[in-house]
């Protein structure tokens, strides 16, 4: 997407809020979850993914990005020892998403492989209060005239308007609520990877697609303001930078530009660590940079874990 998040906002009729929602921030700040002990384990996880996982000197991004994600997910899942309801989650890889909606007489569609999806049996409670939702009525979506909002979108003749995450899962699936989407930018070459702005836009579009499909499955196909907003979270990373996003679908009435808008909270460009040095850098027989992980930021993992625990805590 060309203009990144701003374009995605217009397309999905969403209002942007910087930072994480107060509910998630509350989980981050809550000391009862024992984040301190986890710090050591997260450092080991990062070192394992970036330094130790291979017989060669340094693993490549195609290898370390998924390994880092798996390690972090393993640490998060082990929290199920403390919170037994966490075991009601299931990861689904390579699931395809399809959702269609109309936006000021332009028919838009989101399709494709949406990375890794985590489903849960229970729905995430709405993050924004009713007042905030009503307040979005006043918010005006920014347009970027003279660029049309549909720039960079592929125009395709759609013969069937497909509309489900049920595209992905059959009926009666017990873990029916999409909880979090994970996007891993793991291409080796930098130009093949999405830039952070584009990654955020992609995350927004797919989160919206999932939420819309779920809403239509729950409440039917008519466009209306939802009584129970659907919340879908999304985390994107390229192995070092993390983007966190919480999306709340308030309305499926997307044709007009007025009325209640959807909300998205974005916490962008969180570094988990500064640099991972595989071999110590030696200049003139003096070690300038020792081998290891430098600049570790535990807050990023705290947010990761908070988004994971959100909904059960």
């Amino acid at each position: 997407l060309f203009a990144g998040v701003r374009q995605a906002q217009w397309l999905t009729k969403t209002k942007l809020v910087e930072g994480l929602p107060p509910a998630v921030q509350g989980i981050v700040d809550n000391p009862a979850h024992g984040f301190q002990e986890l710090e050591e384990r997260v450092k080991h996880a990062v070192s394992h993914a970036r330094l130790w996982d291979t017989t060669e000197v340094a693993p490549r991004r195609e290898q370390f990005c998924p390994v880092l994600f798996e390690n972090l997910m393993h640490i998060c899942r082990l929290m199920a020892g403390k919170y037994p309801s966490l075991s009601k989650r299931m990861l689904a890889r390579n699931c395809r998403i399809a959702a269609t909606w109309e936006r000021e007489s332009i028919l838009l569609q989101v399709r494709g492989l949406s990375g890794i999806l985590m489903n849960s049996m229970t729905q995430i409670p709405p993050v924004a209060s009713k007042e905030e939702i009503l307040a979005t009525k006043e918010h005006v979506l920014e347009t970027f005239y003279p660029i049309a909002p549909t720039i960079d979108l592929q125009e395709v003749n759609v013969y069937k308007e497909l509309n489900d995450t049920g595209q992905c899962f059959a009926d009666g699936y017990p873990y029916s609520h999409p909880h979090t989407l994970f996007f891993l930018e793991s291409a080796n070459v930098r130009t093949d990877r999405f830039r952070p702005e584009q990654l955020r836009a992609k995350m927004l579009m797919f989160a919206f697609g999932n939420a819309l499909a779920k809403a239509k499955a729950l409440h039917g196909n008519d466009p209306k303001v939802l009584e129970q907003p659907v919340v879908v979270q999304s985390i994107g990373t390229d192995g070092q930078l993390f983007q966190f996003m919480v999306f709340q679908l308030n309305t499926t009435d997307l044709v007009s530009n007025d009325g209640v808008k959807n909300l998205v909270w974005i916490d962008a460009d969180q570094n988990l660590y500064e640099k991972a040095q595989c071999v110590p850098e030696i200049k003139k027989r003096v070690v300038t940079k020792p081998a290891g992980i430098s600049g570790f930021q535990p807050d990023t993992f705290k947010k990761f874990l908070a988004l994971y625990l959100h909904g059960t805590v």
């Binding site: 394992h48 996982d53 017989t55 393993h74 082990l78 020892g81 689904a92 390579n94 873990y175």
Partner: protein, 453 residues
């Protein structure tokens, strides 16, 4: 003689001029000539021995484990590549002879306190296998029988809910095979389509669920598709052709394994039997390994457990292997080789676990000249998606080279079961014929931990 004469003359001189305090040893006379030993560069057997000794000294005195591993695998020569997942007939007998392993059928006996109390109580504490499926009523009805659960420590732990575990396993199975709509499997890649993701889901959810009970799991590290390599020498042969023809060389082996999943832990699993126990015989095969068939190749000698030496989780807990499409049961039945089905599971278990435990031992600094001082124990589950076979391996010795094996009474031990199905069939969103025994054995594997924890 002149040297002796000089020393004889010197000695009274010493006593003359200095007063030796009684009790102090006479000051040692440094020899005038260096010790007479074999040459290093000559083309003789004693020179070869001396070179070998110098090499062993270098490895013994290496400063770090990485340096030791580098020196150990420095010389590259053609070696047999041993594949744990192989279609070779009776491969497990050959692998046992290569690795000096004794195969004991069934699971090792575990102490009563180590077993988790399950809501349907076990009948005997020493029984290696789970109670007969369906014999006890599960769930709430198990309460009166729970009083028979052995072990005073068991009273403190809440009972494992077999129903919950079963639902987790069934959910994972149903998701992968039924609920999630996937494209058709690629040709001959059936295992990547359904059983692979099912195994990953099952293990990760079970490990997370059981981490509350097993603190070792809570500190573990889960690897997806890791690499496990080990290089060793065993036996001797004469070089057949080439410029080194006629020389006596050790037979070199290398295992390069890719388990589907592996769990590594920071503390070692406890030993099952003492180090010097003898539980059976190692098969002796008189043929050359190439008759198996096994082929020689020369490439890098790697020793790797799954992550480098610097990782704190350096000991192994459990590996999970997925058999590829090439080795599926229907193929063996079609070719009328039904007895080889179990051989496939056994050879995979023995070879992979030997490589893993031996690599763990090398990471701690042991090698064939410096044998292990404590046994290394690891577990493995070999499956093809439906049938599960469980293995437990105890490494007692690394000394398998021709000279070190002569006076070495120790043998490595592998306990293994036959393959049993986890379920019968999945139909319409229901799993039919779920076998609790297999699940219970898996849970028991995951709950294995050192006695202190």
């Amino acid at each position: 003689m002149a040297a002796l004469g000089a020393r004889w003359l010197l000695r009274p001189g010493r006593r003359w001029f200095s007063e030796t305090v009684p009790g102090t040893p006479p000051p040692s006379v440094s020899p005038l000539y260096p010790p007479v030993v074999a040459s290093i560069t000559a083309k003789s057997k004693s020179a070869k021995l001396r070179r070998l000794q110098r090499f062993k000294q270098r490895v013994h005195s290496a400063a770090t484990v990485e340096e030791k591993l580098r020196l150990y695998g420095k010389l590259q020569r053609p070696k047999y590549t041993v594949y744990p997942q192989t279609f070779a007939l009776n491969a497990d007998r050959w692998y046992r002879s290569f690795t000096k392993t004794v195969l004991v059928p069934g699971m090792p006996p575990r102490a009563a306190a180590g077993k988790p109390p399950v809501a349907p109580a076990e009948t005997t504490p020493k029984a290696g296998r789970a109670p007969e499926p369906g014999a006890e009523a599960l769930g709430a009805a198990g309460a009166p029988e729970a009083a028979k659960t052995p072990g005073p420590a068991a009273g403190a732990m809440p009972y494992l809910d077999i129903g919950e575990l079963r639902s987790l396993a069934c959910d994972a199975l149903l998701q992968e095979s039924f609920y999630q709509k996937k494209k058709r499997p690629f040709l001959y890649r059936d295992q990547d389509h359904t059983p692979g993701p099912f195994l990953t889901q099952l293990v990760s959810t079970l490990a997370a669920f059981l981490s509350g009970r097993n603190p070792l799991l809570a500190a573990s590290s889960l690897d997806l598709n890791p690499e496990v390599n080990y290089y060793w020498h065993h036996g001797e042969e004469v070089v057949v052709h080439g410029h080194r023809k006629g020389r006596v060389d050790p037979v070199r082996f290398q295992i390069n394994d890719n388990p589907h999943l592996q769990i590594r832990v920071p503390k070692q699993l406890p030993e099952v039997v003492p180090l010097e126990s003898d539980l059976g015989d190692v098969p002796v095969i008189d043929h050359k390994p190439s008759k198996l068939p096994l082929f020689k190749k020369q490439y890098e000698n790697k020793v790797f457990t799954g992550s480098k030496v610097a990782d704190p989780c350096c000991y192994g807990h459990t590996q999970f292997h997925l058999l590829p499409d090439k080795l599926k049961r229907e193929r063996f039945i079609r070719e009328r080789l039904e007895d080889q089905i179990e051989v496939v599971y056994r050879s995979n278990g023995i070879a992979s676990l030997f490589a893993w435990t031996a690599a763990q031992a090398m990471y701690q600094g042991f090698w064939s000249e410096a044998d292990v001082t404590r046994p290394f124990v690891s577990q493995a589950v070999v499956t093809d998606g439906k049938y599960f076979a469980f293995f437990c391996y105890q490494l007692n010795t690394l000394a398998l080279t021709a000279e070190t094996i002569k006076n070495n009474p120790r043998k490595n031990i592998c306990w293994g079961t036959d393959s049993k199905p986890l379920y019968d069939v999945v139909e319409d969103g229901n799993v039919k014929g779920f076998n609790d025994e297999v699940l219970l054995q898996l849970v028991r594997f995951l709950l294995n931990r050192p006695k202190e924890l």
